[in-house]
Symmetry: C2
Subunit: 191 residues, 2 copies
DNA sequence: CCCGTGATTGCACGTGATGTAATCACTGTA
DNA sequence: TACAGTGATTACATCACGTGCAATCACGGG
């Protein structure tokens, strides 16, 4: 299975996603197309399956393990920071390559959005396990996902070497700044 | 083209999305599969093309037209309220049916996420047209998308008859409550 | 009556994806 | 050594999605 991922990554980088067929991938890996679909439901999934699985585990555990004294949002950030440290920090170059492949193709972008939504749902579930209300959990998980998305983007696009976890806290600060200043407040009070 | 959408909606509601083929849709509409793909790039697109096009227009215009005295975030909310009034408010039942179809199928969900992301990008572009910084525009547009998503969900799931625009302002308030209260604040200050 | 334009169609083709059954590789056991 | 069982791999058949291309149709204006 690792061989299929490696072959797929190479070919996607060489010729792009749509211009490479599953047959090519399996051929380079010394397997058949049928076994490819035994491991991955999708041609796209070869780019997502391993990472999103680990991410889900790490974040869930990070949320479950941290002190109940933390606010729910801080618990989510803690979980995301755990994933940042354990999964992304030391693979910045690889993450960049992968992201380049994904952003070059609309289908892959959609799949990534799907994975982000799935991660959001598992974060919400982890919050509910801490006793949070159903709707509150979902909203807070979505805020966490927004912060995560913003931080990841700025981290991969940035040239300096600051660790990802700092981008997370920075993104959280940016969000607070945008949301909590009520310069006019009109549309939030009318009704 | 309207006939294709109608036929597709019927069949998706009757037998589900994956269990209905493009051939069936065109057959019910009295056309051929080839012309289906002349109108829609995708089998999925038949559910999204018309609505997302109008939504993009209305929201963009709403942001561009409203007073520059409004904060960027309020401008986004104004645009989303315009879309709420003009496109959704009077079609609540239809929106519910459509949403039921989408949520029953992972592929359709991914496409919807893609459309949401596209709308987010156009909102960011509209904000930049108001002179906003590139990154700020994107962040604020994403906050708007989050509020929109939350409001739409609560609106379609709710039983009472309050208008969608009120759900938008409520969701914005919920977001403010979640983000701006710093009960612990630990993870936002550490670094 | 003819012409131009746009929508529709027919046909051929490659690719993605699935169900089923056969085969292979490998492990433990007698 | 032989054998049985288990899981991964394979071969084969099949279907639906989606595209490129050329032909045809509908139709309003000159």
């Amino acid at each position: 299975m690792g061989r299929l991922q490696a072959a797929a990554l190479e070919l996607f980088a060489e010729q792009g996603f749509e211009r490479t067929t599953v047959a090519e991938i399996t051929q380079r890996a010394g397997l058949t197309t049928r076994t490819f679909f035994n491991h991955f439901t999708d041609k796209r999934e070869v780019l997502f399956k391993p990472l999103s699985g680990m991410q889900k585990e790490v974040v869930t555990r990070g949320i479950a393990d941290c002190s109940t004294a933390l606010s729910p949002l801080d618990a989510v950030l803690t979980g995301l920071q755990a994933a940042a440290d354990e999964l992304f920090e030391e693979r910045r170059a690889a993450v960049r390559r992968r992201q380049g492949i994904i952003e070059a193709n609309p289908e892959l972008l959609e799949r990534e959005l799907g994975k982000r939504a799935a991660l959001t749902d598992t974060m919400a579930a982890a919050l509910r396990a801490r006793g949070l209300d159903h709707d509150d959990a979902l909203l807070i998980a979505r805020v966490g996902a927004l912060v995560h998305q913003t931080a990841m983007q700025r981290w991969t696009e940035s040239t300096d070497e600051r660790p990802l976890r700092e981008f997370l806290t920075d993104a959280m600060c940016s969000l607070r700044a945008v949301v909590s200043r009520d310069e006019s407040g009109v549309s939030t009070r009318q009704h």
